[in-house]
């Protein structure tokens, strides 16, 4: 038997499997986006092979028209389909934000629950490949600030697969943020169960248990948080690392239980620090646990600048393992 052997695959393959499974289960699931059909299978190859398997009517190549893509997904979702729209790069959300925030997010509410918009917007995000200021941003805070949207940011291939299947079958619109650097890099590959292994939205993952400090993160920075925890373990500091997985719904109970135990917290994300999701999280922890904290919650995030091009500047924009280590140490003074 080979079923118990680990199956190490990258996030790009895991996401493809998730869509394959969802399309196989439900003919109402269809995909639309720029270049997603064969022969390219998407600029990042995430939808490779799917148009051959399911047909170009269900894996639809679109014009470069993001508002038309999201609008079509909104209408089809109201009419009973489960569209998965790909927005190639998260910065392009800016050109279809009206469809996302004014329509996908609000239609259930505005109609008093008569019409619903069960759709997924998949998008790649993050700095690190010198794509410059318009192809590198993490804009999840925009979506979190919009009631009606759910927001998912996976940190590894297994979670990406399980969370994407759940998102496709979720009754609400989901913005699914895929850290671009993790698609094909073997260092982020992991064991991914075969088949329909869903991970529910709203359940954080305690990646590493610890007792002195809680680091709360999501996406690629979870790996940096674990590296920081390794470094500090050697110095006798026990760090708990929580991977939120989903920002909306937020597993606040897991966060608060952990910080109640450690009495110290650091929130980490790649997005610009100012008004980033960490600001909300820090605020919630202070509101609930102020009297019991040993130190104020620290934030580690991107600089309050556009994402620069030059390699040294880009690296300086993105929070590094050393920044997380320094933030944790600052709480222990």
């Amino acid at each position: 038997m080979t079923t118990t052997e680990p199956r190490i695959i990258p996030m790009g393959v895991a996401l493809n499997e998730a869509m394959d499974i969802a399309m196989g289960l439900d003919e109402k699931v269809f995909l639309l986006g720029e270049d997603i059909a064969e022969p390219s299978g998407g600029v990042y190859k995430i939808t490779k092979g799917l148009s051959t398997k399911y047909g170009t009517h269900r894996v639809r190549k679109t014009p470069i028209s993001e508002a038309a893509i999201i609008g079509a997904a909104v209408g089809a979702a109201i009419a009973g389909y489960k569209p998965v729209a790909e927005i190639m790069i998260m910065d392009f959300i800016a050109v279809c934000l009206d469809q996302i925030t004014n329509h996908a997010a609000k239609i259930r509410y505005m109609s008093g629950g008569q019409t619903t918009v069960p759709m997924v917007i998949r998008t790649s995000a993050g700095a690190g490949r010198q794509f410059g200021a318009q192809h590198s941003e993490m804009l999840e805070a925009w979506a979190v600030h919009t009631p009606g949207l759910k927001v998912v940011v996976p940190s590894n291939p297994a979670d990406a697969k399980g969370l994407l299947i759940s998102s496709i079958f979720d009754p609400d619109p989901v913005l699914f943020v895929e850290p671009m650097l993790m698609y094909w890099d073997p260092q982020y590959a992991c064991d991914v169960p075969v088949g329909d292994n869903r991970i529910p939205l709203g359940k954080a993952n305690i990646v590493r248990e610890g007792k002195d400090v809680t680091v709360i993160s999501y996406g690629k920075q979870v790996h940096d948080a674990v590296k920081a925890a390794d470094i500090l373990a050697a110095e006798g500091v026990s760090v708990e690392v929580i991977d939120l997985r989903t920002l909306v719904p937020l597993d606040e109970a897991t966060v608060l239980a952990s910080v109640s135990k450690t009495k110290r917290a650091v929130v980490v994300h790649e997005a610009v620090t100012r008004c980033g999701f960490g600001a909300e999280l820090s605020s919630r922890i202070h509101e609930e646990l102020f009297g019991t904290l040993s130190a104020p919650v620290a934030r580690v995030g991107g600089q309050n600048t556009p994402v620069p091009y030059a390699k040294n500047l880009e690296t300086a924009f993105v929070p590094q393992v050393a920044d997380i280590v320094a933030a944790i140490k600052s709480l222990n003074k």
């Binding site: 028209s65 038309a68 909104v74 009206d98 329509h103 008093g112």
Partner: protein
Amino acid sequence: MATTNRPDSPDRETLVQMYEIQNKIKTTDERFRSMLTSGQIQLIYYSPRGQECISAGYAVHLRPDDYVVTIYRGLHDHLAKGVPMRELWAEFLGRSTGTCKGKGGPMHITHPESGLVVTTGIVGSGIPIANGFGLASQLAGTDQVTVVNFGDGASNIGAFHEGMNMAAVWKLPVIFVCQNNLYGEHTPMSMSTGVEYISERAAAYGMPGVTVNGNDPVAMWHAAGEAIARARAGEGPTLIEARTYRFYGHLMGDAMEYMPKEERKAAMAADPVPAFRAWLLENGHATEAQLAEIEDKIVAMVDDAVEFAMNSPEPSLDELYTDVYEEITK
């Protein structure tokens, strides 16, 4: 006389049905405006008065399972597609018995049972969404069609361009009805639009485009009928520019300084609803008694709806938190 006499005019029953829809819109609008000006109700109101024939002209071709998408000036489209009067009034008044439990309001009337699936307050945004309904029908292999309504102003926003192109590329069963009332908010079309006829823009997307007198019910009926038949047959979208006039400006309370007085006076003197009524009588398509009976019935219907809405409760406060997500979500 605005109404065309054609040998292939719709049958009597259809003609009277169109008049009934027009009268329902006119009577409802008049009641809203009188109650607003007398201070009995307060709400944001975009009068559709003057544009009745357009909605009536396409609606009589539609089935309940066809979709209509419209905008904030949408009362005429709502009534034409069959949104029930009581629930419509209650929604305008923000009551729990409204179409959307009082949570959407006049700019977001939704009534899927009638096929009125989206009313948006954002200019042009209904166009890409209508494509999604068209795509759903196409994927499902049904012959349902989607009519999306918007104004002349919307033809200058990016969503129009993206949506028209996608509909043409995918041959979607969508009818784009540009209700050209000659003004986008407070700006005349001549100051905002580089073409004389918005229908000319259809050529740029590779779809048929036609300009029709939107105040001529028979001409509108023909144009809509042809476009709807083409969409049902899987032959793709059409842009219909229906020329009309907006009697009461952009928004109730608008001082209308930007609309020449003579122009408005002339348009109102040529009011298409009484003109069509007279045409029906002159051509023997209906009798005075028949039309009077319809009109009385509609007045009674509006009276009933107003009473229903005024006596309905506001939504309970817990409705604030429901319908954000399927389940209440932090």
